[in-house]
């Protein structure tokens, strides 16, 4: 398994992801600086969380113009699995690999706490091992928005990967931390080989971190 972790100026979850992948797959991921232009021999590409370019202009907007992104888009279109976590999700949205937009949390607050999510799509390579999972979120702009037409398309096409829910797995307005449309926490592309999600599975991938629900997302791709 050859995993690549993209590193931008301001990424801060890149090494956490690398630790999770190393532990779960047993193989060493390769860190790829954003100015590089090749991702040959990749089985999995991860765009990690953080604050790329200090969130200037819009979260993920500047990173989405980095040289490596053209290669990420190319590989995604060839079918290579790509995961964007938190800021990585925002970057994939800005590249248009994923539909919709991530706007400011409806509370106007940065939210850093554990949430529960459940997989809506239970067949994709990312979601098939996860049912209800607890993992942390840490973001200011995670409020998923899409036009009515786009929302209908992603729902009808089974592209909703995860929804925020309560501990029992019920999708309620109370369990929606940020105002996301239909409690959406993560989405897939048309072809289901690109996942973007706001929660951090790498921060809940081993028991020493207090929870290991996040590892099932990595396990399902890496196994």
């Amino acid at each position: 398994m050859k995993s690549k972790v993209i590193v931008f100026p301001g990424s801060n979850c890149d090494r956490d992801v690398a630790v999770a992948i190393r532990k779960i797959s047993g193989s060493e991921p390769q860190m790829v600086w954003h100015k590089e232009t090749s991702l040959s021999n990749s089985d999995l590409i991860i765009v990690p969380g953080g604050f790329s370019y200090g969130d200037y202009l819009r979260c993920g907007a500047i990173a989405s113009t980095s040289p490596i992104i053209y290669e990420v888009v190319k590989k995604a279109n060839e079918g290579v699995p790509v995961i964007g976590i938190c800021n990585g999700f925002q970057i994939l949205i800005e590249t248009s690999l994923l539909d919709g937009a991530l706007i400011r949390n409806n509370s106007l607050s940065f939210i850093c706490r554990d949430v529960y999510i459940k997989s809506e799509n239970q067949t994709s390579i990312f979601t098939k091992k996860t049912n209800i999972a607890k993992m942390p979120i840490a973001h200011n702009e995670g409020n998923y928005f899409a036009s009515d037409e786009t929302l209908k398309k992603i729902v009808d096409n089974d592209q909703v990967a995860f929804k925020y829910c309560n501990q029992e797995g019920e999708v309620t307005s109370h369990s929606n931390p940020n105002g996301s449309l239909e409690n959406i926490a993560g989405i897939l592309n048309d072809r289901k080989n690109v996942l973007g999600l706001m929660p951090h599975p790498e921060r809940a991938a081993e028991s020493a971190l207090g929870c290991e629900d996040g590892k099932y997302i990595f396990e399902s791709i890496l196994s």
């Binding site: 907007a61 113009t65 919709g100 937009a101 928005f145």
Partner: protein
């Protein structure tokens, strides 16, 4: 030449910041304030002589980077 670009949230996108600002203005006694929408203002200095070419390039800049057309509208004004 100098271009002045306004970027605003589309009408159907909720603007929680604008709502808070509107509430604060109401609290300050500006009771006739009904709604506030916040946006961005960007100045771009561009070395072009032809206004049409400049405008065309600025539109491309907005579409490729400065605005997110899923949630934002933009307008370009050249001085």
């Amino acid at each position: 030449m100098l271009a002045k670009i306004h970027i605003t949230l589309k009408k159907d996108v909720l603007d929680p910041q604008g709502k808070v600002v509107a509430n604060s203005l109401n609290t300050l006694g500006f009771e006739t304030v009904q709604d506030v929408r916040q946006g961005k203002y960007i100045e771009v200095t561009i070395d072009e002589e032809d206004t049409d070419i400049a405008k065309q390039k600025l539109n491309q800049m907005c579409e490729k980077l400065l605005a997110n057309l899923v949630i934002e509208d933009y307008s370009v004004e050249i001085e």
